[in-house]
């Protein structure tokens, strides 16, 4: 399986295609609903964001608490759709990748073509396995948000699927159509 590392450069982004399975390593940042709202406040007020967006990847995730002796609790993606309205502002400022589950709005997909970037999905609910790929965790902003704080994660070989690529192709539509086509053929 193809391995990629963060930060994502333009060449890597343009070489990824919907439906492709990859293993991602490097630093990524968690941010979900509440952290996105605060990032939007920062942007409106001209303040700095908790991390530089350029080339970076956001994981829509709120892990469960870290038990003693572990690096992280269980961790998996949350539904990306809820971040759709706030995503273009981040893509326009250099965000290169997102990890979540489920589909994205047309607006996000269009913005991803204008600002070449990739939307990956991790398998939703496979969070006990997900934890095994996290080597380091540090809360870098908004600790008061608890599970929704911004965390800097170091991941190793996190299994992901390219769901929407920088060309607007969508693995959900393509995957479902491919399956239905095949089944149609099998029935004949």
């Amino acid at each position: 399986m193809r391995e990629i590392t963060t930060p994502l450069d333009r060449e890597t982004i343009l070489s990824l295609h919907a439906g492709e399975h990859v293993l991602l390593s490097g630093v990524i940042y968690t941010a979900r609903d509440a952290a996105h709202l605060r990032m939007m406040d920062c942007i409106r007020q001209g303040q700095e964001l908790p991390f530089q967006l350029s080339g970076q990847v956001i994981y829509y995730a709120g892990p469960s608490p870290t038990p003693p002796g572990a690096v992280v609790g269980s961790i998996g993606p949350t539904t990306s759709m809820r971040m759709d309205a706030m995503t273009p502002a981040l893509l326009e400022r250099g965000l290169a990748g997102m990890i979540g589950k489920g589909g994205r709005s047309e607006e996000v997909c269009r913005c991803m073509q204008e600002n070449p970037s990739v939307y990956f999905v991790a398998v939703g609910g496979a969070a006990a396995l997900g934890a095994q790929c996290v080597k380091h965790l540090e809360v870098i902003a908004w600790d008061d948000l608890g599970p929704e704080s911004v965390k800097k994660l170091e991941v190793e070989k996190l299994p992901l699927i390219v769901a929407v690529d920088a060309y607007g192709a969508d693995a959900f539509q393509e995957g479902q159509n491919a399956y239905l086509r095949q089944r149609g053929e099998m029935k004949k």
Partner: protein, 280 residues
């Protein structure tokens, strides 16, 4: 004869059930997922199902949550009318949830207010459903429910004339709108009848039914089988990436309703439709 039960016992039991539910996938779901992996004719779909089975195994063995979203705790309580509980019952359930989520390293996913949204920090309050039943036992079920699937759930008031076909269409539309969001393969609880508040309650209760059973009324059992078949022909598949296995199981609960009403609720559950039960 009235049986005495100390509220502390309720607290301890709820604590234990919260932790167990979040770590151990119910056997019937695991079994159904194994069968689905065997029946799946699309390679990438089968590999996702195998990964989910592996995840459930790791969670059980390492005593960690199956999914990071350990949900809002929904507690179903059936209280025998011959039991007397000393101490506050509701407080005991609340303390049990607080301790379960804190001591079990489960995620705190509850905000105190829907608009001001401050996290309560201990996953309380739970949603409590109470029923008074004959006998002197207390039966407690904790069913933590994640938001990815809960958010895809829907309710509607159809007209009697829309009938069975109207209900079917509403169910299929709900599945289509849910798509990849509720971490398919999903499990559906469908409530038909009652009134505006009863239909969703029945839908939630239907999510607790074992996947290897059907509705005791053959008329509704047929509907369950037929709708399940249709949902698994949509091609949505595991994680919405295509495949046969879109829905692992579907149960209908039905109830008497008004001559002018046909309430329908669909509670969408994910492959981690957790619940654990104890009888005191």
């Amino acid at each position: 004869m009235v049986r005495e039960l100390d509220a502390c016992q309720i607290e301890e039991t709820v604590r234990e059930l919260c932790i167990r539910a979040c770590r151990e996938l119910p056997c019937d779901i695991e079994q159904r997922m194994k069968e689905a992996a065997g029946e799946e004719d699309w390679d990438s779909a089968r590999s996702i199902l195998e990964l989910l089975l592996e995840n459930a195994r790791v969670a059980r063995e390492h005593a960690v949550p199956i999914c990071q979203d350990t949900g809002m705790a929904v507690v179903f309580c059936e209280i025998g009318q011959d039991v007397h509980i000393s101490g506050s019952f509701e407080e005991a359930v609340l303390r049990g949830v607080r301790r379960g989520y804190t001591e079990g390293y489960l995620r705190k996913s509850v905000v105190a207010d829907p608009l001001r949204r401050k996290n309560t920090g201990d996953n309380t309050p739970p949603v409590i459903h109470l029923r008074l039943v004959p006998g002197d036992r207390v039966r407690l079920t904790v069913a933590p429910k994640g938001a990815g699937s809960e958010n895809m759930s829907r309710m509607t008031m159809l007209t009697p004339a829309q009938g069975m076909e109207g209900v079917r269409q509403f169910v299929m539309e709900t599945v289509r709108l849910a798509g990849a969001n509720p971490c398919p393969p999903m499990i559906l609880g469908i409530g038909i009848g009652g009134n505006f508040e009863r239909a969703p309650e029945m839908a939630k209760e239907a999510l607790l039914d074992p996947l290897d059973t059907w509705n005791p009324d053959p008329f509704y059992a047929e509907l369950e089988k037929e709708w399940l078949r249709q949902i698994n022909e949509t091609g949505i598949g595991p994680q919405g990436l295509g495949g046969r296995t879109t829905c692992l199981g579907l149960h209908i609960h039905q109830e008497a309703t008004h001559i002018a009403c046909l309430p329908v609720a669909v509670n969408v559950g994910c492959h981690v439709t957790r619940h654990a039960t104890a009888v005191l």
